[in-house]
């Protein structure tokens, strides 16, 4: 399941709903991404997440389908927020459930690596009254590419 929302989410509630009445699930793996404070002392930073409505959904649904095909998962949940966020705010929740932990752990890592290079989101950082677009990292591309090598 893929969700995009401006509002915050409760990790406990989301994970409980993901596992409710799923007797075959023995493992839940999750990743939570938070806004890091990039400001110096006395400054406040913020981050605005922009996304390409429609394409974001499409890309993440493809990723979800890919993960479900590659690992014996029960369910996948990705919640990604957009809009203006402050340090400490939750940005993303990625959770996978499976009978055993290995598939859940591995698929969760796969989903985050690909989300970071495929899903059309862009971060605009505000520090001390100035706004700058965050630059993409080569290490993110490398992290995603390794999943193709392992195939």
């Amino acid at each position: 399941m893929i969700k995009f929302q401006r509002e915050n989410f409760d990790v406990g509630d989301e994970l409980a709903a993901l596992c409710a009445n799923r007797q075959n699930v023995g493992a839940v793996a999750s990743f939570i991404g938070l806004v890091r404070d990039v400001a110096g002392p006395g400054e406040l930073s913020a981050m605005t997440l922009e996304h390409y409505r429609g394409m974001t959904e499409k890309q993440l649904q493809q990723l979800e389908a890919d993960a479900l095909q590659r690992w014996p998962l029960d369910r996948v949940l990705i919640i990604h927020r957009y809009g203006r966020l402050l340090p400490g705010d939750q940005i993303v929740l990625c959770a996978t459930t499976s009978a055993h932990r290995e598939a859940a752990f591995t698929a969760c890592s796969f989903l985050m690596d690909w989300l970071k290079t495929k899903a059309p989101f862009w971060k605009l950082e505000e520090v001390g009254g100035k706004s700058e677009w965050v630059e993409a990292k080569d290490t993110d591309d490398e992290a995603a590419a390794k999943w193709n090598e392992n195939r």
């Binding site: 991404g33 390409y52 394409m55 940005i91 989300l115 059309p120 989101f121 677009w133 965050v134 993409a136």
Partner: protein
């Protein structure tokens, strides 16, 4: 045809989307980038380094050699930074 811009490409071009009419000989995404870059100083700045510009046709990633049709949804944006 409609072209969409995101993040710093939008800032540089100065609009979120626009209707454009490229000449018939412009058939690939790479040729469209070259043509768009000539439309204004903002466009020129946005497409100054075509190698880092990402393109999607109908919300799927494509490379510069890909051909587009006049009713495709074309979008240009920088490398993504979500998660």
């Amino acid at each position: 045809m409609k072209v969409l811009y995101f993040a710093w490409l939008r800032d540089r071009v100065g609009m979120t989307d626009e209707e454009v009419e490229p000449p018939d000989e412009v058939t690939t995404v790479g040729e469209l980038i070259d043509w768009l870059a000539q439309q204004s100083s903002g466009h020129e700045e946005a497409f100054a380094d075509p190698a880092i510009v990402r393109c999607a046709l109908n919300q799927e990633y494509v490379k510069a050699h890909e051909k587009f049709s006049r009713d495709d949804e074309v979008a240009f944006f920088p490398p993504v930074t979500g998660g």
